[in-house]
């Protein structure tokens, strides 16, 4: 066999205060292969690739890159070596334009005066978006105006704009819908044909089987195994990840047949916001889970923001339990019993200066305090309950969220609202970056809430999970409602047809 390795990471160990993130891990990738890296939240995937891209230094171990032992001291050095990385946490400068972000540190400049050639940058960016991902993001727009999914596309374009021999993708599809994901797969296969190696991290295991040649499985910082994808199947991977068989069943109940009272919790009538969404009407009953499907940019997130008081709409009505409500701020919405778990945990949800406990209880303090005094024993009790229910790791109240893995941060962001037991819970991409076990747990919690008579709006770009949890599925397309299905009538094909 003449399979050349692009790099070998040998016996890598990395410890953070209190956590052994990587324990003697050996990881190697061949030239021109697509190598998947899988493991539960907090298994050490991101830490491993951050070492390879020069962000962290290993405590012990060697890196052999193209046959030579090297030390990678900075991201700049990694880039010069031909390693480019799409990080899990999006890292764009919100105040710059999309084009500026793509060429940051790599500017196209004109003449000896080095002023930036905006036109070239903008045209090139537009080319990237269209050719690569078939998406029409305006490169001149200020980045903070983009949705999380759009930002993810920009990150991908940015990584692809370098000439690299190894591209690392840490959950590139976590907020992409199926359409963009397929596009990305075409690109990845193209890269492979050019002999470029790709490390691909994802919690959507189906993707791994679709795209990867090889998979390496990590658990609690340890290497469990590296295998060709042909030698693996779904349940084997899950078992290797988790260390035991997990019951990943979710029992659907059919709400029409059950004798639930048909109390209407939320009625949305002809809601419109110019340029974002138009004439949206639907109802949400007590005990019902309504799924929202659609492509990126279909206006789902904006609609949800309007429903939760974060965005003013132009026309239409929001009626909660028969009473029309006007929300001037999220405070009003929360008072009316409607809350939202944001798709953007880093900017809109988590407090990076807080630990797990403080994050989970921030919207729950009224319930565990009196005269402004917080009862710490109650606070701990409730937090511990959610840490164990969602299997948050490390299982410690006092861990600063900034040191947690992406998936565990997401769990904290979800727990923060689940704990308040709202009447109406809107979840915008709640399972983004979460491992299989925790996903099942979240579905279960949603179900329990529904059984208690709460209403849930579940926004997701992952069709399988929409089909799994929703009683009713609404499809949005370019700001409009394109259709509505009951769960029993819905299929992936039907939904896609309306969404594209």
């Amino acid at each position: 066999m003449n399979e050349e390795k692009i790099f070998i990471m040998k016996n890598i160990t990395k410890t953070f205060p209190g956590v052994k993130a990587l324990d003697n891990v050996t990881f190697e990738v061949k030239k021109g292969e697509i190598h998947a890296l899988v493991g539960e939240n907090g298994a050490g995937k991101s830490t491993l690739i951050k070492i390879l891209s020069g962000l962290y230094k290993p405590d012990a171990g060697q890196i052999i890159y193209k046959g030579k032992e090297i030390k990678i001291n900075s991201p700049k050095q990694a880039k010069d070596l031909g390693i480019s990385t799409i990080y899990q946490e999006l890292n764009l400068c919100p105040n710059l334009t999309v084009a500026d972000n793509i060429f940051l540190g790599n500017e196209k400049s004109k003449t000896i005066f080095q002023y930036i050639d905006d036109d070239t940058q903008i045209n090139k960016s537009r080319e990237y978006f269209l050719n690569l991902l078939d998406s029409e993001i305006d490169p001149k727009i200020i980045t903070s105006n983009l949705s999380i999914a759009q930002q993810q596309i920009v990150e991908i374009a940015k990584a692809l704009s370098y000439k690299s021999e190894l591209i690392i993708m840490d959950e590139p599809t976590s907020s992409l819908s199926i359409h963009e994901t397929e596009k990305l797969f075409e690109i990845i296969n193209g890269l492979k044909n050019q002999g470029i190696s790709v490390i691909y991290i994802s919690h959507r295991l189906e993707e791994i089987f679709k795209i990867a040649d090889t998979a390496t499985i990590l658990r609690d910082g340890k290497l469990i195994g590296t295998k060709a994808i042909e030698d693996l199947d779904y349940s084997t991977v899950v078992k290797m990840m988790v260390g035991r068989e997990i019951e990943n069943k979710y029992y659907k109940t059919n709400i029409q047949e059950s004798s639930k009272k048909q109390e209407v919790l939320l009625e949305v009538k002809n809601l419109s916001k110019k340029g974002l969404f138009e004439n949206i009407s639907f109802t949400l009953n007590a005990g019902e889970i309504v799924g929202f499907s659609g492509l990126i940019g279909a206006g789902r997130t904006d609609l949800m923001k309007a429903l939760s008081g974060q965005l003013k709409f132009d026309k239409g009505k929001i009626i909660i339990k028969g009473e029309e409500k006007i929300f001037n701020s999220p405070i009003d919405a929360i008072k009316s019993g409607i809350v939202i778990t944001s798709e953007d945990r880093k900017n809109e949800s988590l407090f990076m200066n807080f630990n797990v406990r403080e994050n989970i209880t921030i919207s729950f303090l009224d319930k565990i305090s009196k005269y402004g005094y917080i009862f710490s024993s109650k606070e701990k009790k409730f937090t511990n309950e959610f840490i164990s229910r969602l299997n948050i790791k490390p299982a410690n109240l006092e861990t600063p969220v900034i040191t947690m893995s992406g998936g565990n941060q997401q769990k904290v962001a979800i727990a923060k609202w689940l704990i308040t037991e709202p009447d109406i819970l809107i979840m915008d991409e709640p399972t983004r970056g979460i491992d299989v076990g925790a996903k099942a747990e979240i579905y279960k919690l949603i179900k329990i809430l529904a059984e208690q008579g709460k209403g849930i709006i579940f926004v997701s770009s992952e069709l399988p999970e929409i089909l799994l949890v929703s009683d009713k599925i609404l499809v949005m397309n370019k700001g409009k409602l394109a259709g509505e299905f009951l769960n029993k009538d819905a299929t992936e094909e039907k939904i896609l047809e309306l969404a594209v």
């Binding site: 962000l55 974060q310 809350v339 402004g372 005094y373 309950e385 299982a395 006092e398 923060k416």
Partner: protein
């Protein structure tokens, strides 16, 4: 199984207490403080390291601490108040004026605290509702308040005859100066509010991530207004103590006070960017600033050089602080 582990964890780590603010990062500045004390103790041949001098320093820093408690709240929300020095002058002048009309001392102090609290609330309202940068708003307020104090008095002090009032600034509680006792209680209450109440938690939230605070349903404007109002009130209290100490309301006091308070808070580890900080850090910071002044005076260094030395030492302290901080938390977190 997992739950048991959690419970065990939470028991072993009792970080929730009132002292939860103290972290390794404070140790850097504490270390600097100790070095400084040793340094002055050796150079001054025993004149520095005495109980009576310790009490003198404590009295000097007590005003910094009282106002610093308010400033810490403001800075944790991600704002700053540059007007506290002028509040000191304004409230001193006004309290002297009220006392002149024979108002009892306690009533005078309460009235001034409420009045200054309202001024603080006004500033906070402007900052929060009009979304203006607090640096600029309070710079404007600095001009207005010190101008008002000067205009009202014509630049001359107003003398105070009320003995009870004077003793707030000059008296003792046992061997301890009264301002020190007051500062001690304010500091403890401040730390309590910060760590144990909703207001404290929300202040950290507002400074840590404003957008998340809004979506979490926190009344962000109210938190900012409260923080400024508290600082106004505490400035009124400090101004009264200062006036008692000087037997007069003097419109020119408090010139260096802004520098002292902000230096004490920042040296104490409260982030200028918001979201981080605590009162124990303030305590150490205030003593560091106070001891530099006091030690140099004892050594006979002229005042102008003292100001230079203060500036340099503040710079060094912040460097040490940053070093310890980086050792604690991974800085290159993506």
């Amino acid at each position: 199984m997992a739950l048991k582990e959690n419970l065990a964890n939470s028991k072993t780590k009792k970080k929730f207490g009132l002292f939860s603010g103290i972290r390794i990062r404070d140790m850097g500045v504490l270390f600097a403080l100790i070095i400084l004390i040793i340094f002055f103790a050796i150079l001054s041949h025993g004149r520095f390291f005495t109980i009576s001098n310790f009490l003198t320093v404590s009295r000097q820093v007590s005003l910094t601490i009282i106002v610093g408690v308010g400033m810490t709240f403001i800075m944790i929300t991600g704002n700053i108040d540059l007007a506290v020095g002028s509040y000191l002058a304004l409230s001193g002048v006004l309290v002297a004026a009220i006392l002149y009309y024979g108002v009892p001392w306690y009533l005078a102090v309460i009235i001034i605290m409420i009045f200054m609290g309202l001024i603080g609330a006004l500033v906070g309202t402007v900052v929060a509702k009009q979304k203006l940068n607090s640096l600029i708003v309070t710079l404007a307020m600095l001009g207005i308040a010190s101008g008002a104090a000067l205009a009202y008095t014509g630049g001359k002090p107003i003398f105070i005859k009320n003995q009870a009032f004077i003793s707030i600034g000059n008296g003792y509680f046992g061997p301890i100066p009264i301002p020190v006792v007051i500062a001690f209680f304010i500091l403890i209450i401040g730390q309590f509010v910060l760590r144990k109440t909703k207001f404290g938690r929300y202040a950290y939230a507002v400074g840590g991530n404003m957008e998340a605070a809004i979506t979490s349903g926190i009344n962000v404007d109210r938190i900012i207004i409260y923080a400024f109002a508290i600082t106004g009130m505490l400035s009124g209290l400090s101004g009264s103590i200062m006036a008692g100490r000087l037997f007069s309301g003097n419109p020119t006091v408090g010139q260096d006070f802004n520098l002292d308070v902000i230096a004490a808070v920042v040296i104490g580890g409260t982030s200028l960017a918001g979201g981080v900080g605590n009162m124990w850090g303030l305590l150490i910071g205030a003593f560091l600033v106070g001891i530099i002044g006091n030690g140099l005076t004892i050594l006979g260094v002229p005042y102008f050089y003292q100001i230079i030395a203060k500036g340099l030492i503040i710079y060094i302290a912040i460097l040490i602080d940053r070093q310890t901080r980086q050792a604690g938390l991974g800085k290159s977190r993506i």
